[in-house]
């Protein structure tokens, strides 16, 4: 246990409390603009509630548009939290320490926003309780309800539990509102027993949250894959969506990290090495995404089924050619071009690539949802889909809600896990050296004794 007085350590990390302590005019201005966009979106939803879904651009046969696209998009971004936090923690990757908090916050906010979108899409939202009164578990939409609620519960708990020691620090610093930090810190004093409880809980959650997260986006893909529509009824959809979600999640995380690094002066903590490691992950996911996309289209093309071909040509050379090829460029060509070599892997270029990927993955969702609906099996007069002002403003409102949620979080809690950084300084260096030493070959003396030190305690 550390000694009672460690002012040096605390002062070292004062910067991490900057977002809580300082609220400047920039904050209020940004918040005001975002709030205005949010309110306008809510007003547009009120119009939709009053007049019906006719205020959108949806029609027959394109019965799903922006709302479902954005639903898939936002839930996809939620995979940022899981991958970084859980998998990196499981792997004991030390570079995760400044990143986990932001990743977990992204997940919590984006799940709430994304989970709201199917309700926004309903023609009769006043009857949404019917899902609970008369639900059918055969329907992939119900699988979604179960899965997203479970993930939201798990990831909120997974955000909160590692937050507790930081809340205790804020409580002890005397940050206002006092009652909030005392309430949420649950008497955390850093005793060994409490550490044990926290570690156990985090270990359990870390393992539980991964299959739940994988199930979430798989189940969302099943909404499409379980129908017979051309372009949707494909077995690759489960892995495709999960890979795409992790891909877009990491990209969004990088954007968030770069923005907050600049705004709250966290350059000392979020160093180039963290971004470099994440971009290598991003590059891997770009390759995986491209591989899965390629498999999907090659299989469809080779079989030459008329319905599949119609949908594919609609995407390759038809009305959706521009979004399609833009998506390929943003999701694969640009990341590979800019992130492969160390010289071009700078923070500005990473920002550009990440924003490009977020846009590219949104385009991917557009390209999955609309063309298959626009080109039905049977002869049906074709009607293009254009989003209306309502749909666009609700999308803008969702993005504002995300930014506002983040800003609000940063006002009350540190964006970087203070206690984990301090743990990293104090104990992790020694632990990691010991761990690496255990991988290396043993000294001859130990071998002759018959005991293998690496297996001790197993």
């Amino acid at each position: 246990m550390s000694e009672p007085h460690r002012p040096l350590a605390e002062n070292q990390d004062e910067q991490l409390y900057y977002s809580i302590d300082h609220t400047g005019p920039g904050f209020y201005l940004t918040a005001a603009v975002l709030l205005a966009v949010l309110v306008f979106g809510i007003y547009q939803y009120y119009l939709q509630f009053r007049y019906g879904l006719g205020v959108t651009g949806m029609n027959q046969p394109v019965t799903w548009g922006f709302y479902i696209i954005n639903f898939v998009f936002f839930i996809g971004i939620s995979h940022a939290g899981t991958l970084i936090s859980a998998i990196l923690r499981l792997n004991q990757a030390e570079w995760r320490r400044p990143i986990t908090r932001m990743a977990e916050v992204i997940t919590a906010i984006v799940l709430a926003i994304g989970g709201l979108h199917p309700l926004i899409d309903l023609g009769r939202p006043d009857r949404m309780l019917n899902i609970f009164k008369w639900g059918r578990l055969q329907s992939p939409l119900l699988w979604d309800v179960m899965s997203i609620t479970a993930y939201f519960a798990a990831s909120t708990v997974y955000l909160y539990v590692p937050l507790i020691p930081d809340i205790a620090k804020l409580r002890d610093r005397g940050t206002r509102p006092r009652w909030l930090y005392e309430f949420l810190s649950w008497d955390w004093q850093g005793t060994p027993r409490q550490h044990q409880v926290l570690n156990r809980a985090m270990n359990l959650l870390m393992i539980l949250v991964i299959p739940v997260a994988v199930s979430v986006h798989t189940v969302i893909s099943y909404i499409f894959a379980m129908t017979l529509e051309a372009g949707w009824h494909s077995t690759i959809f489960g892995p495709y969506f999960v890979a795409g979600a992790i891909f877009s999640g990491i990209a969004c995380l990088m954007v968030v990290m770069i923005v907050f690094r600049k705004v709250y002066h966290l350059e000392r903590y979020l160093k180039l090495v963290h971004f470099a490691n994440l971009s290598k992950l991003l590059l891997v996911m770009a390759a995986v995404w491209f591989y899965l996309t390629f498999s999907e289209y090659l299989t469809g093309f080779f079989g030459q089924e008329p319905a599949e071909l119609d949908v594919m040509m609609y995407k390759f050379t038809g009305p959706y050619a521009i979004p399609f090829w833009l998506m390929i460029f943003l999701n694969f060509v640009l990341p590979v071009a800019l992130l492969s070599s160390k010289r071009t892997r700078t923070i500005p270029s990473i920002l550009v690539v990440s924003i490009g990927i977020v846009i590219g993955m949104w385009l991917e969702r557009l390209i999955i949802v609309v063309p298959s609906l626009s080109v039905p099996y049977v002869d049906f007069p074709s009607h293009p889909y254009w989003p209306s002002l309502t749909e666009i403003s609700i999308f803008a409102a969702a993005i504002s809600a995300f930014c506002l949620g983040f800003m609000l979080f940063a006002k009350f809690f540190p964006l970087i896990s203070v206690w984990e950084i301090q743990e990293g300084r104090e104990t992790a260096v020694k632990e990691t050296s010991e761990r690496i030493a255990s991988y290396l070959p043993d000294d001859p003396e130990n071998v002759s004794s018959g005991a293998d030190p690496a297996l001790e305690g197993v």
């Binding site: 006719g54 651009g57 046969p61 899409d121 939202p125 059918r136 939409l141 909404i223 017979l228 099996y377």
Partner: protein, 241 residues
Amino acid sequence: MAEGHSGPGLKHRRWGMVIDLDRCTGCGACVAACKVENNVPEVDPQEAKMGRVMHWIRVARKEEHHGDRTFVSIYPALCYHCENAPCTWVCPVHATYKGIDGLVGQTYARCIGCRYCMAACPYTVKVFNWLEPSWQETLREHTNPDVSLRPKGVVEKCTFCSHRLQKARDDAACENRDVREEEYQPACVEVCPAKAITFGDLEDEESQVAAEARSPRAYHLLEELGTEPAIQYMNPRERRV
């Protein structure tokens, strides 16, 4: 309301159609009759142009290009009341379901308007009330009292005029007998001037519809999907240009 049962005492039937494309002229009488019989709402011209026309049955047009010749065929497209209906698999609230005598039902009161069934139907036969439904004044005064008016935000589709079936079943139950095939037919069947649609019990081997269904000219639309529709079309004997 268990699936597939006809209720106490009444013989289970599988209502179906065979539509002879040699006879269909594309006149659209079936479309008009269906609209009037089922209180299908009208739609503004701008809405219609956008693609929000509400037709429970429509005259579909298929063009096939072979070299410099184009074959055009017209056929009435309506809900096929599939035995294996994809729309019933995906509905989250049991608003569309496989019901009595093989009809695929639609419960307007329970539908939450998620439109999943519309996305899942491979035949694109379901329509949606995008706005509050409206009718011209005179038509509004003459709505069919046997068919409920739908609110905005719910899905609707052809029901094989199930209200007529319900009436026939009630009469039959009162008189302690089975529904006779001739006493129930949907409005489109009744009104077709070319008698292109044959309607009846597909499981009754002696009925006319079952006989026509056995014809070598008869086929199911999108048979390869395995939906087993209750409607078959009969190919024209000659290809028309």
